[in-house]
């Protein structure tokens, strides 16, 4: 009978990104509550409500830096929050191996493509395309 060896220094397996992932989920969740319900309120309840949503409405919002940043922040936070949540599901329901790597790779790719495209659209959106009927455009588009 031998005594249990005194374990020395703890094993350090990689960095503790998991801690930051966990903190990110908590923090982004709180911010997203405000962003998403603010977004829903502005789009669906203020003024004419849902009837007001058309090209002109969206174009008008994205001409304002405040709403540009609101939407971009919502896009980044929500997609990373969702992708990280899906990653934990993959961790919970698959064993380490090729399948897990493929699933995580697909998640990363999907989130990255959507974030890049979304950011590009929000900041390069042309609210007054040439040659469009004036009644479909935001009010500030001078004919």
């Amino acid at each position: 009978m031998t005594a249990i060896e005194f374990p020395g220094e703890p094993r350090r397996r990689g960095s503790n990104l998991e801690k930051w992932g966990w903190i990110y989920m908590r923090a982004s969740g709180v911010v997203l509550l405000v962003l998403i319900f603010g977004h829903l309120f502005m789009n669906l309840m203020v003024g004419d409500g849902i009837q007001a949503i058309d090209f002109g409405f969206v174009g008008g919002k994205w001409a304002d830096p405040f709403w540009q940043w609101w939407d971009v922040l919502m896009l980044w936070l929500a997609l990373i929050h969702g992708a990280n949540g899906m990653r934990t599901l993959v961790n919970d329901y698959t064993n380490p191996g090729t399948v897990q790597k493929v699933l995580k790779g697909a998640l990363f790719a999907a989130a990255a493509v959507l974030i890049i495209l979304g950011t590009l659209v929000v900041f390069t959106f042309e609210p007054c395309p040439a040659g469009a009927p004036a009644d479909l455009l935001p009010s500030f588009c001078a004919a």
Partner: protein, 253 residues
């Protein structure tokens, strides 16, 4: 007639009513079976009997090959955690009267650990996680000669809940995160780390926090509360895990 006598013999006490209870037990004999199979047993039981008594009756009177662990049979040793009607409990603390005996009672081994035979699993991975969190007092101070290390009632109360653990594995084997690959430390190891992390006499909290701030450490907890519901000692396991998370973020207990 000078002395009063009993005119009638006292009525015989009504016999305590017994019930026939059907048990469906998940059997596995590694020498014969390739897959576990369900086998049913009818046992005559009293309402105040425990599931462990039923297992004894089956083993002693019907099928001696039924294999399970038990030791103290009074909820202290933690040997007989099993999955009864889909919930992890101690067979010695589960009374027949608390179960619905109009239907068969399902008894199977706890999940997430390698099944060895019938209701017995290999507990080694569970104890390996337990050992890894250094579940013993590491004190750098020396108490006064002939004295103990003094601890206030308030300081003791901080970790009182987690001293109650009996290492039965009911919590860890109820955790869906542990079921998948068994890499996660599991609730029981974290509970036992908590017991020393928050002990004012212990000086090694930082090491334990580092160990649990791991890829497979406390951050894998999804707060599903299965562990808290499963604990036969009523330990608030999920709360203890949350307190360890907070301590890791603070960087100290």
């Amino acid at each position: 007639m000078s002395t009063a006598t009993l005119d009638q013999a006292p009525a015989a006490e009504a016999p305590i009513q017994s019930f026939t209870v059907t048990f469906l037990i998940r059997r596995f004999d590694p020498d014969v079976d390739t897959e576990p199979r369900w086998q049913d047993f009818d046992v005559e039981m009293y309402a105040t009997d425990r599931v462990l008594d039923a297992l004894h009756k089956i083993k002693w009177e019907q099928d001696g090959s039924l294999t399970f662990r038990r030791s103290c049979a009074h909820g202290i040793c933690g040997s007989d955690a099993m999955r009864i009607n889909g919930r992890n409990r101690l067979a010695c603390k589960t009374l027949i009267k608390d179960l619905d005996i109009s239907k068969p009672i399902y008894v199977e081994a706890i999940k997430g650990l390698p099944l060895e035979k019938d209701l017995i699993v290999d507990m080694e991975p569970f104890f390996a996680s337990f050992r890894e969190v250094q579940p013993f007092l590491v004190a750098n101070s020396t108490p006064e000669p002939g004295k103990e290390r003094v601890q206030s009632v308030a300081n003791r109360a901080i970790f009182d809940d987690t001293t109650k653990c009996i290492l039965c594995a009911a919590c860890t084997s109820s955790c869906p995160v542990f079921w998948t690959d068994g890499q996660y430390f599991g609730p029981a190891a974290i509970v036992n780390a908590h017991r020393f992390i928050f002990d004012s006499r212990d000086d090694n909290a930082q090491t334990r926090l580092d160990i649990l701030n791991d890829k497979e450490g406390v951050w894998r907890c999804r707060t599903t509360f299965n562990c808290t519901e499963a604990c036969p000692r009523g330990i608030e396991v999920t709360k203890a895990i949350a307190e360890v998370k907070q301590a890791i973020m603070r960087g100290k207990p």
